[in-house]
């Protein structure tokens, strides 16, 4: 049994401009002590996926179908009360824009204590404060600064504070939404190192959501690639980067210039990602795919296991073989 | 090497720290943000010169200084041998037409209340009063075609009706209508999605070739530097720490900061393993930069002299410069 398993999940937003099919039939899973990357461009539904797992969707969003199994139990059938225990207690999250994720007028200590005590009411405030300082140490922050306010911390330190907050109730799974976006290269590298260390030391499972394939290559064990509300490919990190099967994965990896490789002209992906109000029929990638045929326009491919642990949603998965030459 | 088209000499920009009227009266010592603190470099004609560095290192301020958007505290910028800060009136207008800029955020760099035609046409409206409306329209349409947009389709639209990539193309078209010689591009793709990024980078390279442009490319992403740069300078806290041809600097970095930076850049290849240089702390505030070498508090090789004396910039190999006491 997987730690978390998402099965044909659909979450739509019912907005004035129409129905946004943000998550439209997504499958993926995470095992214990595993870092899984969910990669895709902006608007592909990856944040909605995270928010659906956390059941923190805005009122205009609706979960249409699917299952989110955590330890085999469906989170979608839990009551809000039960969810409040699981949220942060079992699954916690680092939100995008950690700059604004902390309350500006409360001390960090106060917020940490609230987070710790929200899930362990037996603890006194003093005990919670001790734990908060430990967590600060664990993420590499000076515990003496815990009484400070959000604005007194730099971007990288705030991200560490957010990670410490996320660990407040000893969760099993940590969802990190763009944990390094907006951080400088060296800080980014430090944060990724910290996440990897936490996985090893605490036996944590981590789901990293990002648009940056280079980040994924650095820390993840397995990767899901999302495009326009769907998962198009899942594989372990080496297979995905060395022998991708979906044309989108191949083109996307190729679209990242590397500091190591000598200069050559990178292949462009024509067009732009579709808007999710009105996605193209058939395979959603077909208007931009160089290999698209009539079949791709007409029929939607399903996610198929082409080799053990390697899933691809492409009609030509068995025919296309990409070799990365880096 | 023939004469560089652009020479930056000891350029400085200190921003006075924003403080109240009273405070200025009370305290004699004024505090400054030393955004750019004495940098010099040359840009050869037709080359792509990259300014790389982390946020707050002064690279964007440098760009704004070169375009004379803000006055410098000290130093000179020579364009074709003429100091641009000494220019006035007509001469300034003429030089400005030859230097244009592309901004980072395509959502903010286009006036939301103007339609695309007027945005691209504005530089012509201001500078080419000799042209008739029809002539200007022809140039605008041509510029939009140059950036691979369909003019008929976009001219009437407002920026919010376009995607990020399309907007950045419009911004490029606007920068090109005056047929500039130099383009300053400030992180032009950092706000764009990966799949669109490459097409914009390629577009910039093609246009550079087509019109024989010189480009100053500002970025925090060393991978982009590798992709399109000819020469590069690495900045840290308002100073250039290392400078030289791109392949030279990226393959054989000598400054400890450059080395650390390069070793920490994530690589989209999980099979490549390498040693990361661990660096303590974060970039200090530019209001009170450390004395001596600005990198010394974080430098693994820092010695006594680094705390005291500022390193001079030295040419350690032909065209490869570094500012570090280790190489003196």
């Amino acid at each position: 049994m997987h730690l978390l398993e998402v099965d044909s999940l659909k979450t739509y937003y019912y907005t004035r401009k129409g129905i946004v099919k943000a998550v439209d039939g997504v499958n993926l899973h995470i095992d214990k002590r595993e870092i899984v990357g969910v990669a895709g461009e902006s608007g592909c539904g990856k944040t909605t996926l995270a928010m659906t797992i956390m059941r923190l969707l805005p009122p205009e969003a609706r979960i249409l179908s699917g299952k989110i199994l955590f330890h085999g139990e469906d989170l979608l059938s839990k009551t809000e009360e039960e969810m409040r225990e699981i949220r942060w207690g079992k699954i916690s999250m680092i939100f995008q824009h950690s700059m604004n994720a902390l309350n500006p007028v409360l001390t960090i200590e106060r917020q940490m204590i609230d987070a710790i005590r929200a899930h362990d009411r037996k603890l006194t405030k003093a005990e919670a404060a001790v734990k908060a300082r430990e967590l600060f140490k664990m993420v590499g922050l000076d515990p003496d600064r815990i009484k400070g306010y959000q604005h007194e911390f730099s971007g990288g330190m705030r991200q560490r504070v957010m990670i410490a907050m996320a660990l407040a109730a000893d969760p099993e799974l940590l969802i990190a939404d763009e944990p390094t976006t907006g951080l400088d290269v060296i800080t980014q590298s430090q944060i990724l190192e910290l996440l990897r260390r936490l996985k090893d030391e605490l036996g944590l499972s981590i789901m990293i959501i990002t648009h940056d394939l280079a980040v994924i290559a650095e820390v993840c064990d397995r990767v899901s690639i999302m495009y326009a509300g769907k998962v198009v490919e899942i594989a372990d990190v080496v297979t995905l980067y060395k022998r991708p099967k979906h044309p989108y994965t191949y083109l996307l990896i190729n679209a990242f210039p590397s500091i190591k490789s000598r200069r050559r002209r990178l292949e462009e992906i024509k067009g732009e990602p579709p808007r999710l109000v009105n996605p193209p029929p058939g395979c959603r990638f077909h208007p931009r795919c160089p290999y698209a045929t009539e079949e791709c326009r007409a029929k939607e491919p399903s996610l198929v296991e082409v080799e053990p642990g390697h899933y691809v949603a492409c009609h030509y998965a068995h025919k296309l073989n990409f070799i990365m030459e880096r | 090497m023939k004469d560089p088209i652009l020479r930056v000499v000891n350029l400085k920009k200190y921003f006075p720290l924003r403080r109240g009227f009273i405070e200025t009266l009370l305290s004699r010592r004024r505090l400054y943000v030393r955004a750019v603190d004495g940098i010099s470099f040359n840009v050869g004609e037709g080359k792509v010169f990259c300014l790389a560095g982390e946020s707050g290192c002064g690279k964007t301020t440098t760009a704004r200084l070169i375009l004379r958007l803000i006055p410098p505290t000290d130093g000179k910028v020579y364009y074709k041998g003429v100091d641009i800060f000494s220019l006035k009136g007509k001469e300034l207008k003429r030089v400005r037409q030859e230097m244009q800029m592309i901004f980072q955020d395509p959502y903010q760099s286009l006036n939301p209340r103007m339609r695309i035609f007027d945005i691209v046409n504005e530089p012509l409206d201001i500078n080419r009063k000799d042209l008739s409306y029809e002539e200007k329209r022809e140039i605008v349409y041509k510029a939009l075609e140059d950036v691979r947009l369909d003019p008929e389709e976009v001219v009437d639209k407002f920026p919010h009706e376009l995607s990020g990539g399309e907007r950045q193309r419009v911004a490029i078209a606007r920068a090109l209508v005056l047929r500039p010689r130099v383009i300053v591009a400030d992180e032009p793709v950092s706000m764009l999605d990966a799949s669109i990024r490459v097409s914009i980078l390629n577009l910039l390279m093609d246009l550079k070739e087509k019109y024989n442009l010189t480009m100053i490319y500002i970025t925090h992403d060393l991978a982009q530097v590798r992709y399109l740069g000819d020469d590069m300078a690495v900045m840290y806290l308002g100073k250039i720490v290392e400078m030289g041809p791109v392949d030279e600097v990226l393959d054989r970095p000598v400054h400890p900061y450059t080395q650390a930076l390069i070793s920490n850049v994530p690589i989209p290849d999980p099979t490549l393993s390498r040693k990361k240089i661990v660096i303590r702390g974060e970039v200090p505030s530019p209001v009170n930069p450390p004395p001596g070498c600005r990198f010394h508090p974080r430098c693994p090789y820092a010695r006594e002299i680094c705390r005291r004396e500022e390193p001079k910039i030295l040419e350690i190999e032909k065209g490869h410069y570094v500012a570090c006491h280790l190489y003196e």
Binding site: R16 | R96, M99, Q100, M101, N111, R115, I126, A171, R174
Partner: protein, 298 residues
């Protein structure tokens, strides 16, 4: 100078039409805005067609017993001079609308200009202009208006002037803060790179972007101006040759309508003031919701 080509004019018209259509579409979805606009239109009609609607002239006295209660002929009764209250009410609309619109035009004109200049040029200019603005904000508004109105004498133009001159500082502050934000936007720098002059940037780039906010503020300003006019008139500082709703209440209060319970004299003018103000407040609120990007986020 060469005339603008005809095609360019046609293009402009097409764009404006499209923008207006788009705006109308969003506005229609705002219930509050529709209600406000509805009420306002009724009052505008009342003001324009006053001679047709009012059964009597507002100046005609001794039509009936003073302070007589509503009857068939005088549906809202008469005032202390035996004038028809309903007719006074209808004509009063003209005064309220006129004062509201013109004094707001004045305050938005002054405030807008001060805000634009202070925000754009910054530095000493900004400091000086903003200190002046602060001073005006510190002085109590209505008492200042009372003093000015009392000294200038009772005339509708003086009232307009007084309200306009006292209420510009808040407009200046709003415009300035908006300009400060806009000034830092890259599209301003982009046009500086293209050699745009300060004047061009100020009026071609910044002003149009401030305009929607100013518009919403102005609509709320009209509401405030109508209330101020009512207040001044109620205190007896109004123009006796243009009877306004505030002045009717002044007379009602003076001549003891309260003590005899003449509700027909006390209630209707107040309702009119309230409804007219409310219509502008509703419209202003709706505009704010549509035009203010901060609120539109969700």
């Amino acid at each position: 100078m060469r005339l603008v080509s005809r095609e360019k004019v046609r293009e402009r018209m097409r764009i404006y039409k499209r923008s207006i259509r788009e705006f109308a579409r969003t506005y229609k979805e705002n219930k509050m805005g529709i209600v406000g606009l509805g009420i306002l239109l009724v009052f505008v009609f009342m003001a324009v067609a006053a001679p047709l609607i009012a059964p009597h002239s507002p100046r005609e006295m001794w039509l009936a017993e003073p302070l007589s209660p509503p009857s068939k002929e005088f549906i809202l009764g008469t005032d202390e001079l035996g004038r028809d209250i309903f007719s006074l009410l209808v004509y009063g609309t003209q005064v309220s609308l006129l004062v509201g619109l013109l004094s707001t035009l004045l305050s938005v004109g002054i405030g807008g200009l001060v805000g634009l200049i202070a925000g754009y040029y910054g530095g000493v200019v900004d400091s000086v202009l903003m200190r002046i603005t602060d001073l005006f904000l510190i002085l109590p508004g209505l008492p200042l208006m009372i003093v000015l109105a009392a000294i200038l004498g009772p005339s509708i133009w003086n009232i307009i002037f007084v309200i306009g001159i006292v209420s510009w500082p808040s407009v200046a502050r709003i415009v300035r803060s908006q300009v400060l934000e806009l000034r830092e936007r890259p599209f301003i720098e982009a046009s500086k790179v293209a050699n745009a002059s300060d004047l061009r940037i100020l009026f071609y780039h910044i002003a149009p972007n401030v305009a929607p906010l100013v518009f919403a503020t102005a609509v709320l300003g009209i509401a405030g101006a109508i209330l101020s006019e009512a207040g001044l008139s109620f205190l007896g500082l109004g123009d006796p040759s243009h009877i306004s709703w505030g002045m009717m209440l002044h007379y009602a209060h003076e001549f003891g309508a309260l003590e005899i319970g003449a509700w027909w004299y006390l209630v209707p003018p107040g309702i009119c003031i309230m409804l007219l103000v409310l219509s502008f407040v509703f419209i202003g609120y709706a505009l704010d919701e549509i035009l203010n990007p901060r609120l539109r986020r969700r």
